[in-house]
Symmetry: C2
Subunit: 223 residues, 2 copies
């Protein structure tokens, strides 16, 4: 509790500049916490997904046998950090209350492209009571390195979402009377964008097996 | 007035990943506003400095004749944006009052290295009245993409600065009684770091001939 978790993306070096540029241009869905230099590795992620040409090939506990010196490791911030801050401020986080995965939607917001990487922004939705929306914006704005402020507040159709009860990923959650759907950029975006680009090889963490950093969430917060 | 100005750095592609990573790891001295993909160019910067192996070779108005398709262009935010915000809040900016260049110092704060790029952080100093230091922190914190909050407040010796009247670059300014020296990361840092790495070729804007963007400073501000 209290420490920042991170999503993992490993790519061969020839994709690394474009992917780093994609993250730099789309900091809300792709908040970089760290990038290791080509060849540098860590061994403390508990489970990995291996994708070839954008398709999941296998899930493994170690990648030593396929590691190459040109692999570049990216660690991206995740919304667990700001959810902890929302809860501390007594702002309800519905999917946690209902013990579900956060609902995620492929929005009509286009990311800024970089080289081979392009695609729509995936967003998460959290229903927030009207009188707490402003506070939710303030709190998450502090966490620029873990998605930051909402990208959209209110009418889902404005960002191409037709049915809040049918998320593209995760689970639907209850929206109570007087609550506003609030949308944040989601860390699934870079994964979706990478798969779409069909690189020869891409390694990610397996969902639920993230990297746990030694950075406190509070260290990530500005102002 | 009101529009963000940017520092220019152009490097051959083989240095681009390391430099982009250096900027990502050191966002305060190297706040990236934009990176053009390899080969993409602009023609609206009025004057350029051309460096070979870290030494200034010449200053020219056009670079069409030496342009190569692997050149990568970086545009970095500059403190002019937050100085405008300080002035609007009636916080004095001494070097502007005294019609001087801001005093800059090579500090003992080490940047995080990336590949061939490493070196100390260059900082600017602005003397701020004690009762306005807190407000100056709040205001500049909003401008994360143009250096953001101060990196140090108070005792210059703590960051390796011996004499505030002898800046490494720029001009000394008057520090009045009851004023505190406040230090911000400076955009000279990436230039100094690039020169130290002695790349075969590097092109920058000529001082005083920056890139003027179509982004309002206010568009750069968070919260």
């Amino acid at each position: 509790m209290g420490y920042a978790q991170a999503n993992l993306v490993i790519l061969p070096e020839r994709y690394a500049f474009d992917f780093l540029l994609f993250c730099q241009r789309n900091p809300k869905p792709c908040p970089l916490l760290e990038v290791l230099e080509p060849g540098k590795f860590r061994t403390d992620i508990p489970c990995y997904n291996i994708y070839r040409k954008g398709k999941l090939e296998t899930t493994v506990k170690e990648i030593k046998n396929i590691w190459k010196p040109d692999f570049v490791t990216f660690l991206l911030g995740c919304s667990f950090s700001f959810e902890e801050a929302l809860l501390r401020a007594k702002i309800p986080v519905r999917h946690i209350e209902e013990n579900k995965n956060v609902p995620m939607f492929i929005s009509s917001i286009a990311c800024k492209s970089a080289g081979v990487f392009l695609g729509p922004m995936v967003v998460t939705m959290r229903p927030i009571p009207s009188d707490k929306v402003s506070r939710a914006v303030q709190i998450t704005s502090r966490y620029v390195s873990v998605h930051g402020a909402p990208v959209h507040i209110g009418d889902p159709s404005k960002i191409g979402i037709r049915n809040l009860n049918k998320p593209d990923f995760g689970d639907p959650v209850t929206i109570q009377r007087g609550e506003v759907p609030v949308f944040w950029a989601c860390g699934v975006t870079p994964q979706a964008v990478v798969m779409k680009a069909k690189p020869d090889l891409c390694i990610t963490h397996t969902p639920g097996h993230m990297f746990i950093s030694d950075l406190l969430n509070e260290e990530l917060a500005a102002l």
